[in-house]
Subunit: 222 residues, 2 copies
């Protein structure tokens, strides 16, 4: 694509993102765009989140995958909340990210007034998802200790645009000789204001910190 | 992008890939395009590979990253082989993959006659790298047991287009309760002819199988 084409695409995306944001606002929903590399643990974190919040808050999910609805099925097994599935392979050429148009098209089929929280699980990819505003209130990224300490420096945009980093799989830190201090220093280098919560979605350690953070954000946005 | 634009981009890529392939052939080099999600262990596998092969084979590496030359520095610490660094952030808009134009432009600065093996480390991403022929003889992907068993179904193109899957971090399989049978079944579903080698680049277990595979391919291509 030429630079002008890229500008057109991003400008069209931003117009649609503003429309999505207005729709979320009309419902009263706080919206998180959850991003990570494949396998970092987004879906397991969402399972924990739905198990805790769905009984008392009105929550909905948008799932982004190249193919399939495996994560939708996992989440529906945890809580009976609405889960929209977007497959980029079907209508969007196998794109490696979600954009505002995909989210907008998916939302055109639904009306969720009174929904307090919308969790958008992006396609697993450390690069392009960070480039697209989808109308979220907040970008949250997940990293896992098994990915190594150097990723903030090699994939800086996602680390730079996220408000919160959830560092997952801390139960494996010793097994992979994870250098926590080096990782945190690399995070600070690309985003000095990045908040960081460490947890293991598998064991449950630290999950309450994430839930508390999320509820603080929802309250502050009201 | 419209469909016509996508076709133009891919056709331009394939013309450049053919030129790259002819250049590799003129050197007598076997070329591997190594792909994976971020943090699956491509660089650690390349460290092991260079340590074993560089003393007796003429090897060169092309490193693809959004930003930085951290992997180049790691590899240069293992063996004094040529390592070209491509940063997609600098000249290619932060692209999430390598394509034939990037590789061709990087090769324009070098001449490596007699090189027997060129290892191309793609940008860490399970989606788009699989869409671009860069002139390689063979696509090899790395998956790690910490990514989960469902990834072949959710990111099918890379699994479908790779000749070999290196399943890394098998030393962590018990810690993450990795369901090996389910993973292998999912691999077979998207690519019945996919070869699979299991190893741990960290401990060294299984690495000799990968080295033997690589040497068989190099011999067969001569």
């Amino acid at each position: 694509m030429r630079i002008d084409d890229v500008r057109d695409v991003l400008s069209a995306n931003d117009r649609r993102a503003a429309a999505n944001r207005e729709r979320f606002r009309s419902w009263g929903a706080y919206v998180v765009n959850l991003m990570s590399a494949p396998g970092a643990g987004k879906t397991t974190i969402l399972e924990r989140t739905l198990a805790a919040l769905a009984p008392r808050d009105r929550v909905a999910v948008v799932e982004g995958d190249v193919r399939g609805s495996y994560d939708r099925e996992r989440l529906r097994a945890v809580a009976e909340v609405p889960v929209l599935q977007i497959n980029t392979e079907v209508a969007y050429g196998g794109e490696c990210h979600l954009d505002a148009v995909m989210i907008g098209n998916a939302l055109d089929g639904v009306d969720w007034p009174g929904t307090e929280l919308v969790l958008i699980e992006n396609v697993g990819n450390l690069v392009c998802p960070a480039e697209f505003d989808v109308g979220e209130a907040c970008k949250v990224m997940v990293a896992s200790v098994t990915e190594g300490e150097d990723k903030p420096l090699k994939y800086p945009l996602m680390y730079a645009t996220s408000a919160l980093l959830v560092l997952n799989k801390v139960d494996l830190a010793a097994a992979v000789a994870f250098d926590r201090a080096a990782f945190l220093a690399n995070c600070r280098q690309v985003n000095p204001s990045l908040e960081i919560i460490e947890l293991s979605a598998r064991t449950g350690e630290g999950v309450s910190s994430w839930l508390n953070w999320l509820e603080r954000q929802m309250r502050a946005a009201r």
